[in-house]
Amino acid sequence: MTKVPMTEAKVWPTSNADACIRCATCMAICPVSRVTPLFPGPKQAGPGAERFRRPGDPSVDSWIDLCIGCHLCDMVCASGVNISELNLLAKAKYLDEKGRPLRDWLLTHTYLYGWLGSLFSPVVNWLLKNSAIKWMVEVILKIDRRRQLPGYQSPTFRQWFRSHHSKGDRRIAYFYGCYVNTNEVEVGKATVEVLEANGFEVTLPAQECCGIPMLGNGDFKGARKMGLQNVPNLLKTIRSGSEIIFSSTSCGHMIRHEYNRLLGIPGSEEVAEHIFDLFEFLRNLKESGSLNTHFKELPLKAAYFAPCHLRSLNIGLPALEILRLIPGLQLENIDADCCGLGGTFGFKKEKYEISQEIGKDLKQAIDRSKPEIVLTDCEGCRLQIRHLTGLKVLHPVQVLRDALLQRTDEEMG
């Protein structure tokens, strides 16, 4: 039997598999088991399998790697079983034993080489689109060639911000995340501009990748390392009197909940109390009557999709609430479950088909709504929806920014 050190044993959540009454509600909602028999579904994979696992026995449940980590099963379980956590722990054990391919390391450590991507973005982006390269990547790394790897932008968001002079009456810190920094700089800019339009001076605390790609791949050690670097920096910001916002619901979910619940990072509880989803923060402004609502009319038909990690933040749909204030904006909430990308899940060759099959339901829901653009708070969902529909997909803050500030069409890119 492997011995878990006391510190770690305390950190990891205790299994409440006993609470499962086998009602199978989770089986009705799991996006993976609905499309493939390869994954036995949350009831079986989580609390069910838990009864069969013995400390010290090698993992036999290779299918556990197919849990996409959407947390939807947790959300619908009336008995409060922490199904996806049980799955993640089992997945970590399985991958620890089996070993992780180089591919997984590359997919989860983009923060280490993202700056290079930005620096050489013209070349890199050409390479990423080149079909011969994509073929090689598929053969060597098992990253599916049908998936377009995200392109890099230069300058990075942080570089842009250095030359930007943020001004305001109150200060707010921004955890922008890796993807905004090197791949979707525009989301970062829009966030800064919206906050400034509400009278905030924006600061950027020192930050590393939040670690969620590693956690999603069962690499607790790697994820914890990122958390241990981030938390002291974020605490410094908080203790200087500034709240923090995030624009990526995945980074936010990680920092706010998993740092504490799964990784037990010291100080994470205090961080959780002071870090907010961007739109949650704006909704609070609205509640206190201080939200800048001088919106100009925006005649646009948009569909909004709530990402899984937003749902597990359990703050409702604040982006929808705020965007509804914009005159002219026709907004429909897309009631679909999971986009199917699952962070790095959908890039993997062996999981691509599953990812696409899950995505089909979302695509159909979007097709029915016939929007001009799609809005969603998570970069993964944006990538996937672009891939599925070919539509223009933005972060809701980009539309909010446009409603607040004069922009020409070219700039809206």
């Binding site: 039997m1 011995k3 598999a17 006993d18 609470a19 499962c20 009454i21 086998r22 009602c23 199978a24 028999p37 390869l38 994954f39 036995p40 009831k43 079986q44 069910g48 399998a49 838990e50 009864r51 069969f52 696992r53 013995r54 400390p55 026995d57 036999v60 449940d61 299918w63 008995s79």
Partner: protein, 515 residues
């Protein structure tokens, strides 16, 4: 269809099937009749402990020696029915240190190997143990699957020529001039009756011995002791955990496949089929077992059940815990003047083979045959591929239809079992698989099992009648533990069957089942 044979064995528990195997290995023809299914008495209603004998070392050295000797034999011949978990006798602060010393010495005298562990060593092996424990003594206890054991004996007996008849009762004994000559048998499912002529009759009916003896106007002194047990939803310990103190209620927790079994109580009973677990028994078991493993207090229970220990009283007084767990072989020719009738009772699951050996020896002596026993040398056959929890887990996806979600029993597995047996009653299947033994206790899968049986044309009566009888039987096991998670489960299951399916009115197994 009258039958002629050499030996008629009554009772299809471990002892009866053990005797059938022993005799047929000695090439003595025999027929076994059992009124229910295999192991439907105490053989199937115990905590599945492969005794090391340590429990009896202090109080009953003879029983202890029998246990450890049979323990070694069973490991050799029935490895596939056993999980070699090992066991610990733990001492808590309130347990006498003198007892531990006596215990260690007595084990040594009985030939039971022990090792003394410190508190920390014990906790490292079993992290759920009460951290207040003082020490633990390691003993060669294990877990045994009694159904597999009995089935293996039955299969080997059949392979060597024995005939086994289930759901068959003996309604009277054929007696001719102070000598038994067989019995009248009744097929309880079809209603057919016939004669079984035999030179010898062995009464191996455990707690039911006096019901058989009554047919001959005889009676022996038996004490019936009800032992109740509780099953947890998850396996909390990897080794058998015993309390290092004189035998008492709630002093053992046996790991078994996916669950742990808390045992036992000892309540004198007048009824052989008194299987009701009372609220005081439930609280007593929980209180005592959670002293050893505190997590038991908050753990989800999935079932309560009881078995009747047939204790043979050879005189003496004292509580049931003091009655010897040794067995008794009674030659009614010597005792009552009724020749060729024997009763074998008392004992324990672990000594079933020895009991069978002694009984068969006696028969051989009477027959004047000189063939010695070989059951301790020949391994028992594997009846069906038995899947360990790990294998079940591995096979679920994409391995086909899992009918029992809790114990991961696949359709394929059930179909294989149906091929190996002549299907007569749904309970026969429940005895042969892990189906319905998990969290929801058959709440979902028995409906599915009936669907499968109906598809195969195996259910002659209305499937809903069988379903209702099953739910009524299930109720007996869960009613004593209905609070917390088990109560939620109950609300779910009741809402399915009485709500969605609108099933009504009580039906019991066996009642009117020949319709």
């Amino acid at each position: 269809m009258d039958i002629k044979t050499e030996v008629l064995i009554i009772g299809g528990g471990a002892t009866g099937t053990g005797i059938a195997r022993d005799l047929s290995l000695r090439a003595i023809p025999c027929v076994l009749v059992e009124k229910g299914d295999l192991a439907s008495g105490a053989s199937g209603r115990n905590h599945g402990l492969l005794h090391s004998g340590a429990r009896y070392a202090v109080s009953d050295p003879e029983a202890a020696r029998e246990c450890i000797s049979e323990n070694r034999i069973l490991r050799r011949i029935a490895g596939h029915c056993i999980e070699e978990t090992g066991g610990l006798f733990i001492s808590l602060s309130e347990d006498s240190p003198q007892f531990r010393e006596r215990f260690l010495m007595a084990c040594e005298e009985a030939g039971i190997p022990t090792a003394l562990y410190s508190r920390d060593q014990a906790l490292e092996l079993e992290p759920e143990l009460n951290p207040d424990l003082l020490s633990a003594v390691k003993v060669p206890d294990g877990a045994i699957n009694p159904f597999e054991l009995v089935r293996a004996n039955a299969k080997d007996a059949e392979r060597h020529g024995a005939k086994l008849l289930f759901h068959t009762g003996i309604t009277s004994l054929l007696i001719d001039q102070n000598q038994v000559r067989g019995g009248l048998a009744l097929d309880l499912l079809s209603g057919e009756d016939y004669k079984i002529e035999a030179s010898f009759v062995v009464n191996a009916t455990g707690a039911w011995v006096n019901q058989v003896l009554k047919l001959a106007g005889l009676r022996i002194d038996m004490a019936l002791s009800k032992g109740s047990m509780l099953i947890t939803n998850q396996r909390l310990n990897q080794r058998v955990i015993n309390r290092c103190r004189p035998a008492s209620d709630g002093d053992i927790v046996v790991p078994n496949e996916t669950v742990s079994i808390l045992g036992t109580t000892s309540v004198r009973s007048e009824e052989v089929e008194d299987f009701e677990v009372t609220p005081p028994e439930v609280s007593l078991l929980l209180t005592e077992a959670s002293r050893m493993i505190p997590a038991i207090r908050g753990a989800r229970l999935i079932r309560a059940y009881a078995g009747i220990r047939p204790l043979f009283q050879s005189g003496g007084t004292g509580g049931d815990r003091q009655i010897s767990r040794s067995f008794a072989l009674i030659d009614h020719g010597e005792r009552d003047g009724l020749k060729n009738l024997m009763t074998i009772t008392g004992g324990k699951l672990i000594t079933y083979r020895l009991m069978a050996e002694r009984t068969s020896d006696l028969i051989c002596r009477k027959m004047g045959v000189d063939v010695s026993c070989s059951t301790h040398l020949k391994p028992l056959p594997v009846v069906a591929e038995s899947l360990r929890p790990k294998d079940r887990l591995q096979k679920i996806a994409p391995g086909g239809e899992v009918l029992c979600d809790c114990e991961l029993v696949r359709r394929e597995e059930l179909e294989e079992i149906l091929e190996t047996m002549q299907f007569r009653d749904i309970r026969d299947i429940l005895h042969r698989t892990r189906l319905a033994k998990g969290t929801c206790q058959g709440g979902f899968c028995v409906y599915r099992l009936l669907g499968l049986l109906h598809e195969s044309g195996l259910v002659k009566e209305s499937p809903n009648k069988v379903l209702k009888a099953f739910l009524e039987e299930r109720w007996k096991g869960i009613r004593p533990i209905l609070w917390g998670g088990a109560l939620k489960e109950e609300e779910l299951i009741e809402s399915i069957y009485k709500g969605i399916f609108n099933l009504k009115d009580s039906v019991e197994f066996g009642v009117g089942s020949s319709e």
